[in-house]
């Protein structure tokens, strides 16, 4: 009886369960999502070098030209090469959204952990400020800010951070509240660990799954907010143009169904759908106990 059952008498398959992580079957949708996301990240990083023409040069006599050998996606309302403009515009759409989402999530997660690990009045103060921010519709907030300060790239980023960090804060705070009650956090506290150690080493790694899916979702929101602003002419300012601006510039060609208005829209669509598919598969894996 004194012999150690846990190590010697249990059957082999029970003693040490095989690590579950290897070769998880991933659904096709997740693969498509990952490919689309990778494609757009690639375009955002290297699109400039791949562009066949200068995106702001009026290279063709034809405006709203259709697909051809020289201009694969046709030309826009000024006769500029559409492919080059999309490759260039993706840099703004993806890049701005990425920077602002990273900042928004960093703010949200930091404040969320701070609120949970601090005393009640810090928690109350941060939570009420975030509630106030979340109560303002993000589009309205953006419009007001732009009309007061005028549009610029830093302002667009600040705007997106203000709009999206409260949501991230709320999710992070409720996750952290649950985890703070877990016994391994109590063990760390009764070991005399600092708050920073508890937040960074004990809590954060166990919140990553939901936070990553939240990140993806907020990235999509960000892309749509920034494109929406640009579509209204209040986002990225000329001569630079993101995908939203491209739709707006060429909107007059919509009735003729020209590629110049179709392809920026398709680009936005594939980007957001790709991110969504990827998030879905991530959170599904999380649910299975990943």
């Amino acid at each position: 009886m004194s012999q150690d059952n846990a190590t010697s008498q249990r059957p082999a398959e029970d003693t040490l369960r095989q690590p579950k992580k290897k070769s998880v079957r991933r659904p096709v949708s997740a693969m498509i999502g990952a490919l689309l996301v990778l494609f757009w990240l690639f375009v955002a990083a290297f699109g400039n070098f791949l562009a066949p023409f200068d995106p702001s040069d009026m290279v063709s006599q034809d405006i709203f030209a259709s697909y051809s050998g020289t201009h694969m996606l046709g030309t826009d309302f000024l006769g500029r090469d559409m492919l080059s403009r999309i490759l260039d515009g993706a840099r703004y759409s993806v890049g701005l959204a990425l920077i602002s989402t990273v900042l928004a999530c960093l703010t949200g997660v930091t404040l969320g952990l701070l609120a949970v690990l601090s005393n009640t009045w810090v928690d109350e103060a941060v939570s009420r400020i975030m509630d106030a921010l979340i109560s303002m519709p993000s589009k309205m907030l953006a419009l007001v800010l732009v009309s007061v300060f005028g549009s610029s790239v830093p302002l667009l980023i600040i705007m997106a951070v203000l709009a999206y960090s409260p949501g991230c804060f709320r999710i992070c705070r409720s996750l952290a509240l649950n985890i703070a009650q877990m016994e391994y956090v109590l063990v760390a506290r009764s070991r005399g660990e600092s708050r920073f150690y508890i937040a960074a080493r004990e809590m954060l790694p166990n919140m990553m799954g939901p936070i990553l899916s939240d990140f993806g979702m907020r990235f999509v929101f960000s892309v749509l907010l920034l494109s929406g602003m640009s579509f209204l002419g209040l986002g990225v300012q000329l001569p630079a143009a993101d995908l939203g601006s491209l739709v707006r510039e060429n909107i007059s060609g919509l009735s003729q169904g020209v590629p110049a208005v179709l392809w920026p829209a398709i680009s936005l669509g594939t980007l957001t759908i790709g991110v969504n598919l990827l998030i879905d598969s991530l959170s599904a894996r999380h649910r299975r106990g990943f």
Partner: protein
């Protein structure tokens, strides 16, 4: 067709995520006659629940019923399609789950949920179903059978909910009932009541059942036939008497040995002359807002006094809600006490963590009940074990590595677990890691909060053996919190019995094995099922003194056990506070009754367990 259930060569296969297949039930066959109860017994992972669920034609997610036949009455269960399975489930075969709290929908009234099956199967109309449910509530000895159905699940106790679930299963008059560990989550004193009503109802109605359990002593009361399982294969199949008297299989004997109450030997511990290492005096603690006197709204512990000496092991027992874990949390600094004082090593121990010194953190280690939540799932075993070494001992990386290996050796784990994550270890292994982490601090006191409750009997016994060995080797002091009196008597020199936050009895392990005892201690001890048939029938029916309090008496100071006490003295127990007495054999008891009175009352119900001499 004399057999009601016939299972031949049943095989269940689990599909791994990487496409591999593991057979978790390996060709199990058995038959069950009408009116009999078959017990499936084994530790977790033995396939007992999987086999029971196959009688419903159900396999859990990721598993499939890959071979064999299952016949219930005249139905071949495994060849049914989904629509036919729906007709079978809840009608022909009914299921009673382990955790009643999780099996009920919290937003619907009990009655709605109980009669649901009868309505779905179109057996009766709503009025008839309600009438029948009330009949069943009565048969299952539920209080207020006419109105209890109008309550919500959270408004009844755990033991009552389990009986309501039995009513839910019985309402369709099923041919076969499956009971899946129906009393495992309950306290012993509640378990005995639930078992008694289950047994009465099953006997009266001639119900055939499959009873899944890991507890041989419980099974001995309930079942006629027994099937001992290990790793999905049958190790022994025979009648319950046969197994109890002459088990043939080695594994069965091992199970029986683990379930035997240990021999209570003379404790070798001698109290030293110097002051106690940890002194708890007048501790009162609780939760909720504080009133003007600084007392919390919900008081959980009242005036607790314990002296723990170096090298001593004190057991804290009581049922759930008695304040055991709150006591551990108070000592660990997670819950500041409202009144009273903690003295550790001659110095006052602050109630809150932020005022404690690193040395105090190191000296007192809390080992939590559930290793699943006490180990961070995102850290490897090496990370988990080296952190205390880093923070308390400031060891270098190389030293840490060496010490982690020593620690693993100390808790008898193979060195190969070092790079693994908690989810990759078995329950017993996780509990060993949990213990090793506390040992890494080289503490003088370890607070063990129900460390064996979540484990199988055999694995739990190995952990207790390890604790005894560590104490001998390292001279540790334990405060061992448990609801299991036999484990406490095996490990602890002194035992403190808590009831509703009050310290009702303190005694050594020898004196607790002899009477007279506080009536609650006596009830607690007698409620532990014993491995002999008809033990349950010999147990006295619990008493309920529901007399209204006489005017002028203050319920806050009265004995908390008065309503359930068989030795209740009318006019005394419900009027004045009980005195603390020292009985001749040395126990401190909070009771109005004299030692002679209690000895006479308890003499009629000797609770001598096997292997124990009185």
């Amino acid at each position: 067709m004399t057999d009601l259930v016939e299972v031949i060569d049943l095989r269940v296969t689990a599909d791994g995520v990487d496409g591999s297949e593991t057979e978790i039930v390996k060709g199990v066959s058995f038959t069950l006659r009408k009116g009999e109860v078959m017990a499936l017994i084994g530790e977790s992972g033995s396939g007992k629940t999987t086999i029971a669920l196959s009688l419903l034609g159900y396999a859990r997610e990721g598993c499939r019923l890959s071979g064999g036949t299952v016949r219930v009455d005249d139905i071949q269960v495994l060849s049914l399609n989904n629509a036919q399975l729906h007709k079978l489930r809840g009608r022909t075969v009914a299921y009673i789950a382990q955790c009643a709290a999780a099996a009920f929908n919290p937003s619907k009234r009990l009655m709605e949920q109980v009669i649901e099956a009868a309505l779905i199967h179109g057996l009766m109309n709503r009025a008839q179903a309600r009438e029948r449910a009330i009949e069943l509530f009565e048969a299952l000895a539920l209080p207020n059978p006419k109105t209890i159905g109008e309550r919500y699940p959270h408004q009844v106790s755990g033991g009552q909910l389990q009986r309501v679930m039995a009513a839910m299963a019985l309402i369709t008059d099923p041919v076969l009932i499956i009971l899946d560990e129906p009393t495992t989550a309950l306290d012993v004193t509640t378990q005995i009541e639930v078992l008694r009503t289950f047994k009465k109802v099953m006997r009266e109605r001639g119900i055939s059942a499959v009873y899944v359990s890991h507890d041989l002593a419980v099974v001995a009361q309930m079942a006629d036939q027994i099937l001992v399982l290990k790793s999905g294969s049958v190790r022994e199949a025979s009648t319950i008497d046969q197994v109890l008297l002459a088990p043939t299989d080695i594994y069965t004997r091992e199970l029986m040995q683990a379930a035997q109450p240990p021999n209570v030997t003379q404790s070798l511990f001698v109290k030293p002359m110097q002051n106690a290492l940890l002194q708890i005096s007048g501790l009162t603690a609780g939760y909720g807002d504080k009133d003007s006197q600084g007392l919390p709204a919900i008081k959980v512990l009242y005036d607790i006094n314990i002296d723990l000496h170096r090298g001593q092991s004190i057991g804290i027992i009581g049922e759930s809600g008695s304040g055991k874990s709150t006591l551990a949390r108070s000592i660990a600094g997670l819950l500041p006490a409202a009144r009273g004082e903690l003295i550790f090593g001659g110095q006052r121990l602050p109630g809150i963590l932020s005022k404690r010194t690193p040395e105090q953190f190191r000296q007192i280690q809390l080992v939590h009940q559930n290793a699943d939540t006490a180990l961070n799932p995102s850290q490897s075993i090496a990370q988990i074990l080296s952190r205390p070494l880093q923070i308390y001992r400031r060891m270098s990386r190389v030293q840490q590595q060496k010490r982690v290996m020593e620690l693993l050796d100390l808790v008898q784990l193979p060195a190969s677990v070092i790079s693994r994550y908690p989810s990759e270890l078995s329950g017993g292994q996780k509990q060993r890691v949990n213990l090793a982490r506390a040992l890494a601090a080289e503490p003088s006191v370890i607070l063990c909060d129900e460390v064996t409750s979540a484990l199988d009997t055999v694995v739990g016994a190995a952990i207790v053996a390890l604790l005894i060995e560590l104490r001998r080797e390292l001279g540790l002091s334990y405060l061992f919190i448990s609801h299991d009196i036999s484990t406490v008597k095996e490990l602890c020199d002194e035992v403190v019995v808590l009831y509703a936050g009050h310290q009702v009895e303190v005694g050594s392990r020898q004196t607790l094995s002899r009477g007279p005892l506080h009536p609650y201690t006596d009830l607690l001890t007698r409620s532990v099922p014993q491995m002999r048939r008809h033990w349950l029938d010999d147990q006295p029916v619990p008493v309920w003194n529901t007399v209204p309090l006489p005017p002028g008496s203050d319920p806050a100071v009265l004995c908390t056990f008065r309503n359930r006490c068989p030795a209740h003295i009318k006019g005394v127990c419900d009027t004045i506070a009980p005195p603390l007495k020292r009985f001749p054999q040395g126990n401190l008891v909070l009771c109005h009754r004299s030692a002679e009175d209690l000895a006479r009352m308890q003499y009629h119900q000797p609770w001598v367990s096997q292997g124990e001499t009185v």
